[in-house]
Symmetry: C2
Subunit: 660 residues, 2 copies
């Protein structure tokens, strides 16, 4: 695309010099002493037609209003209105309902930041904020489940009652809304509750803890917004743990809750996957501000444990339904996978924080894996159904509905809304050396280098469907700095052209092409990835994936659904027939299928007599096989049609052998 006319650049500069509340990134590391990278606000980035634009539209135009209706129908907003007497109704839903509303508000705030929120949804959010603010207790306490007749139960069930989890989401929503509008009403509700906590609790006061991490990362972001050191220290109080609480929690709960014991005593990821992800995200935020080395070491060990032993190929986390928990190392069952949407989103949060702390593309690789697959799968294509679980295999029973409009604990829907609404904020960063490109999609960014030089960049690409992206770099005037362009680890080779010239041996630093030169307005970078479909094997210690492969193409993990296979067969009838020379995929663009996808088709075989008509056990020997083709679709699109079988991990045979 062409560089923008000068008038736009002027507007951009003006925006960068706007009020303090405006133009703050999702994670505002601009003053974080231990951040290498600094975010670019949602408002500075526009996603154009491409891969993410329809996904984000599904979240903003379809999910936000329909989920608001469901919040109303289920009394979750009335739970606030009753506090001020605006509604005379009984409280409804489980304890954490407030958090659902706050996450929805945060998502609306991001849509407002990008200018994508319509007037109706913005007004609705204003009304909800008004209802919330009117209900706050004079003490500053504000959790609807423990107000009025239930006030005496405050802080009596800290392990399970989610009071400070709710407070954390209140803070995040308040901050996002403030950054979107300058309106402090909701932020002030949070500040009053923060002051209530600071008055009453702490090492020299009464002990307190929260059984579901979340408040830690919210308090650090509050400190970044209102630079009062007490907020950061309160986050540290929760993360370090108050020794007086250790008696209050059973050892099994120390595992499950992933809190109470000192964070730096953790050596493995275990227990409830979402709790663990929020805890490590909060701890990384704390590190970004404090540089505490014990936190850094602990976080690095936990990350290795996740990426090396406990993460699904989709970036999903949580192997067990029981406790929604991490399993043992390499325990990654596919059909039983829990892989809650919120856990994959937590994975994105954590790796984003780690990336800001290090500038290391290995974190972006995991972020991309979780974002494009295990999180992206959580929202239906029409934006109205949500996955709680994101299993890697589905039997196809019509009763086994993975996508539903509502859950008794609807934590995932607004989490999907907020990650998608805030997505423009995850594309770019700046550092003292220049500007960083983390993700690829048609987009424009208007921001500034860290010396204040206005810069505009745009991307033109059909990524991840196509293998090429063109990035136009337009500083306000010619200037020497570095453009860091991510080189995904999945791309065996990547071809780089700068200003029309191929770069034969480009400098790669920690997974990023580091392109330093004097950039002139309109200079172009072209990067071409290796988009050939890949057969991915799991470590054989993952017993569930032995004899099977996953198919990946670019950042996308693929899956086979029964509907796309020859009539009368399910995905479980087929095994890939892999030529000894390597995979033999056809990539086929299907504009009208599942919102527009590249399907993959590969030679496959199935037994001449269907397995379901064969005995359970038999001598190992080659049976008779029938040749055919297996068709795969991106994992994130699974179960968007009628119920059918689905599998990510697919048995294979090397052509010419009897291996099954």
């Amino acid at each position: 695309m062409k560089s923008l006319p000068a008038v736009v650049l002027v507007a951009c500069v003006a925006a960068a010099q706007g009020p303090a509340w405006r133009d703050r990134p999702v994670l505002d590391t601009s003053k974080s002493a231990y951040a290498v990278l600094h975010g670019v606000p949602v408002s500075a980035v526009a996603l154009r037609d491409g891969f993410w634009s329809p996904r984000r539209k599904a979240a903003i135009a379809a999910s936000l209003p329909t989920f608001l209706e469901l919040l109303e129908q289920n009394g979750e907003i009335d739970n606030f209105r009753r506090l001020s007497g605006r509604k005379n109704v009984a409280r409804r839903g489980r304890i954490p309902t407030d958090a659902d509303v706050y996450k929805w508000l945060e998502a609306v705030a991001f849509a407002v930041q990008s200018g994508d929120a319509g007037p109706h949804i913005r007004q609705a959010a204003e009304g909800v904020i008004d209802d919330i603010a009117a209900g706050q207790d004079s003490s500053g306490y504000m959790v609807s489940a423990f107000m009025g007749e239930n006030a005496s139960q405050r802080h009596t069930g800290m392990a399970r009652n989610h009071e400070l989890y709710i407070f954390g989401h209140m803070l995040q929503a308040g901050i996002a809304w403030y950054r979107a509008s300058g309106d402090r009403r909701l932020l002030d509700v949070g500040l009053r509750m923060a002051d209530y906590l600071l008055r009453n609790f702490g090492l020299d006061k009464k002990p307190i803890f929260e059984g579901h991490p979340e408040v830690e990362l919210a308090l650090v972001e509050l400190y970044r917004t209102i630079p009062d050191r007490r907020y950061l220290d309160l986050a540290g109080y929760f993360l370090d743990g108050d020794p007086r609480n250790m008696q209050a929690v059973r050892p099994a709960d120390l595992v499950y809750l992933f809190t109470v014991e000192p964070f730096t005593d953790r050596t493995i990821l275990e227990g409830h996957a979402v709790r663990a992800m929020y805890a490590v995200s909060g701890a990384t935020d704390y590190f970004l501000e404090t540089g505490n080395r014990k936190y850094q070491t602990t976080l690095a060990n936990l990350w290795e444990d996740m990426v090396g032993r406990k993460m699904y190929v989709t970036g999903g986390l949580g192997s067990r339904a029981q406790g929604e928990a991490f399993g043992d190392p390499y325990e990654l069952p596919n059909r039983q996978a829990y892989a809650e949407s919120c856990a994959a989103i937590g994975n994105v949060f954590w790796n984003w924080r780690f990336l800001q702390a290090t500038g290391d593309g290995k974190y972006t690789d995991v972020l991309e894996r979780a974002l494009y697959n295990g999180a992206n799968s959580g929202l239906s294509l029409d934006g109205k159904l949500y996955c709680y679980r994101n299993p890697l295999e589905v039997g196809g029973d019509a009763d086994d509905r993975i996508r539903n409009p509502w859950y008794s604990t609807p934590c995932c829907p607004p989490n999907l809304e907020r990650i998608l609404a805030s997505l423009p904020g995850y594309f770019y960063s700046t550092s003292k050396d220049g500007v960083w490109v983390h993700l690829f999609d048609n987009s424009e960014v208007r921001w500034k280098l860290e010396d204040g030089t206005p810069i505009e960049m745009s991307q033109q690409t059909l990524y991840p469907w196509d293998d090429k992206a063109t990035i136009t770099v337009t500083p306000a005037s010619a200037k020497n700095f570095t453009v860091f362009v991510r080189k995904p680890a999945w791309s065996a080779a990547a071809r780089l052209e700068v200003a029309g010239v191929m770069v034969p041996a480009p400098l790669v630093q920690k997974g990023y092409f580091a392109i330093r030169r004097t950039w002139k307005p309109g200079d172009r970078i072209t990067i071409q990835f290796d988009m050939r479909p890949r057969l991915t094997a799991a470590n054989p210690l993952v017993r569930d994936d032995i004899g099977k492969v996953a198919v990946e193409r670019g950042p996308l993990v693929y899956a086979a659904e029964g509907l796309d296979q020859p009539a009368g067969t399910t995905v479980f009838d087929w095994q890939l027939a892999v030529p000894s020379g390597g995979a033999a995929f056809k990539s086929v663009w299907k504009a009208d299928m599942l919102g527009g996808i590249v399907t993959l088709v590969h030679p496959a075989v199935r037994p001449a007599v269907p397995d379901r008509e064969q005995p359970l056990y038999r001598n190992m020997a080659a049976g008779k096989y029938v040749s055919g083709e297996l068709t795969l679709i991106p994992f994130y699109t699974f179960q968007n049609r009628e119920p059918t079988s689905m599998a990510v991990w697919i048995p294979y045979r090397i052509a010419g052998t009897a291996a099954r």
Copy 2:
């Protein structure tokens, strides 16, 4: 071996003409109208040194006395003594403790029947029976948990309170003790409770049900012992279900409990595996007496569902810890397998009943699979530790103790004791045409043909370690009848010699060689099996076993344990390297290992860089491998040494390919 001298045969005849209580088989189908086969009493069969003799000795000489001590330590016998005031103590343990004691008594009774119970254990059992009888309520009710201060709770929690489950075990123990000794004291306790039930409950009285099947099969055996039709009809009342109970039970409980709804409405095995096995066993008993065709059809369908879709290769049942339950079809995870010892024993019970109804060896094949593997594994080699779960894979964590001396619900230990104590009763049957040999081990039987002709048979064999068995047939005088000798389905071929002459094309009827001739005392049958180790594949619909094989040899399923592999490796490091021409096992007899076993050794490879040092996901490609050997031991001996890794299903590669 030689035929016994005439004096022994005379004693045998005398025994066969003894009092009515004596010489009754475990399952007394002697008057069952729909039984094809009829049992041979435990007292008529002597197991000599061989495979089962040390296992049975572990049960009788070690398990029975040590478990009695634990029953005493845990107050389970005091729970009876307090009823009569003999002990003034509080009740201890969960509701079904009485059933543990009854099963222990039943096991002692079988040991008495075979003459293997020492005087101490017999006296102890006499004392326990006395304590029980003294405590019975004047109404006839007798469940210790609901007597005295808890009497008002009788029949108020029918779904979960196990009252009639306990009653069933009381009946089985009373019958076995009566058949062992002629002593009716415990049987009379059961008869009084039966009369209490008949007085109070039934279609024309109050409704009743029991949430854990067991009473059904016990009532049928009571009917076989005391031929009062009301006992059989009461079993039918429970099996057919009282429509008035359908309201009392949630749909999920109809699945879990495997009772309440009419048995003949069942179409699949589901819910709690032990409950289901006891239900189908009781229903088969009911069919053996009534010939009800709907029961026959239902049972045949359920058997196909089990054997075709839901049974582990070990004969274990129950895929899920949650609900100790069957899973979906082909849901057979290995490490998470529940496979409760009691469920495998229930599998033996059911197939024994089906075998008596049909004379079909397909039931003996399943019985043998469950007996030698999934049930046999439940008792440690020293007889003092018990498996509740019998998983097919163990990670090797020292904290993951599969074998324990006691459980809060110690149902499995006495179940293992009673199946092993009664085992001689499972070797032979008679039919109108002759005599049947179901199992192979050194043994002697002294019994009679159905026309009353005394017959003695002996087996000489090192089965299952060796491939040959010699059976000596000694009727009292030369006589024409059929000897049915089982031809196991696992033996691809079997060579048969009768009286020294090879039989080139022997008649095989439903899995049994049917050898009809005029048998002269001392005639010999020699059968030689195909004992070559087998590589068994699971149906690919069992997703957990894709790319893996199980190793079997004769009736034994094998497993690899980490301890036996090269230093520094676990079983999970290795894959079998299978020559394209077929398996290449060495079978090695190890007299001093695990009580004496044949180990199997096969070429194998492991990655040059251990998997635990490799990434979780990687491109599918052949890595570098190091050659070696994998050693396997019989599954039933697993975890009899220090904690270590274990796997039944083992990855393999066809030599010369990269398949993993």
